[in-house]
Symmetry: C2
Subunit: 218 residues, 2 copies
């Protein structure tokens, strides 16, 4: 019974790592659509979200079945509940990638990000994608050290977001209101993807150590 429980739990964590890999791909493609103004890549992210939603449902069903059949208690119960929360975070990260893709699509044949803002947004996007990739690894390997180091990457994300505001609100912003609104929302979306990645990683720390790291609330 215990062995069956742990095998099923391992299968759920393997599925979570796979789902996180698919989210990473969505973030990467959304960024590609955004920076190249490519509507077909944007469509790919938007239509691909249904698959992320389906994976979420399948993982949720597995976790509920495990709760039903095995009635775990104590740390086992907390681990299954953590898995349920991780799957919600991951699905939400998929939705946020769709939001990025939709802004990209809205501006085709142009590019939503004005040229001088490109390095900052590119770095935010790269950071988000890397954080999601590291989160897959954290889930697959239960890597607590890597999970803890994600918080540092998140600090860089916060700094970059402040940079975008400083740029947009400076007197020499010459890209108009539309670009500013796009950049403000894009910054928000990438920041939220990073927050959710930290949240997923923190849940892994909790599962392994029983400790809850400092929460990211943004």
């Amino acid at each position: 019974m215990r062995q069956a429980f742990h095998d099923q739990l391992d299968a759920i964590f393997a599925d979570l790592a796979d789902l996180c890999g698919d989210v990473e791909r969505a973030v990467r493609l959304a960024t590609e659509a955004l920076l190249q103004g490519d509507s077909s890549v944007a469509e790919q992210v938007i239509s691909g979200d249904a698959e992320i939603d389906a994976e979420r449902e399948q993982i949720e069903d597995s976790a509920l079945l495990l709760l039903s059949l095995q009635a775990p208690v104590a740390s086992d119960l907390r681990t299954v509940v953590a898995a349920l929360r991780m799957v919600s975070d991951l699905e939400r990260m998929g939705d946020l990638s769709v939001h990025v893709a939709k802004i990209a699509r809205l501006r085709v044949p142009n590019v939503a990000v004005p040229e001088p803002m490109r390095p900052t947004i590119e770095r935010m996007a790269e950071l988000a994608e890397t954080m999601v990739a590291r989160t897959s690894h954290v889930i697959a390997e239960r890597d607590v050290d890597e999970a803890r180091s994600l918080a540092e990457a998140d600090e860089e994300m916060d700094r970059l977001r402040r940079t975008t505001f400083a740029d947009m609100l400076s007197a020499d912003w010459e890209h108009g209101v539309e670009a500013a609104v796009d950049v403000a929302l894009l910054g928000r979306y990438y920041e939220r993807i990073a927050d959710h990645a930290v949240s997923v990683a923190n849940r892994v720390v909790f599962v392994v150590t029983g400790e809850t790291p400092y929460a990211v609330d943004a």
Copy 2:
């Protein structure tokens, strides 16, 4: 045992309705801070969020204890898991109120919302607050009809948000980039509060009927 389970579940739902009431207050105060440029009311929302977080923790602990001690299956299990998700939504709505309050605080002694945008933002805020209030009622009374009608209010929210974009991107927008960025983010925050309210209400429909209504993904 069954009776004890249902008593404890009722207590959790009563706590969820109370928490939703506190979120409603946070939304209302955040809006007051925003529209009156009142930094002390903004501070009240920001510092008050710790209490919402504490309530969330307490409800989560109760739900986990119920899972541990009673090992519910089938619909009982799904109800407890739904409660865990509702509490996450509600906590997030508290965070979003804090975001509104922080924009308010940032612009004091001015008001973040330009005068001509006031009616739209006021209506969005009112709609969000009303939707949260209705959600408290949905939770307390397991009111499925009321839950279903929340989706209509959410459609008005989406329309209002489109209006803000049309206004900001029109040629006669004369309030500059800062106001546009503020309004874009405020619109996003109120829209997300409304989405989470619909999500909570949908979970009540699921708990009562076993059916999952159409999901809001925004």
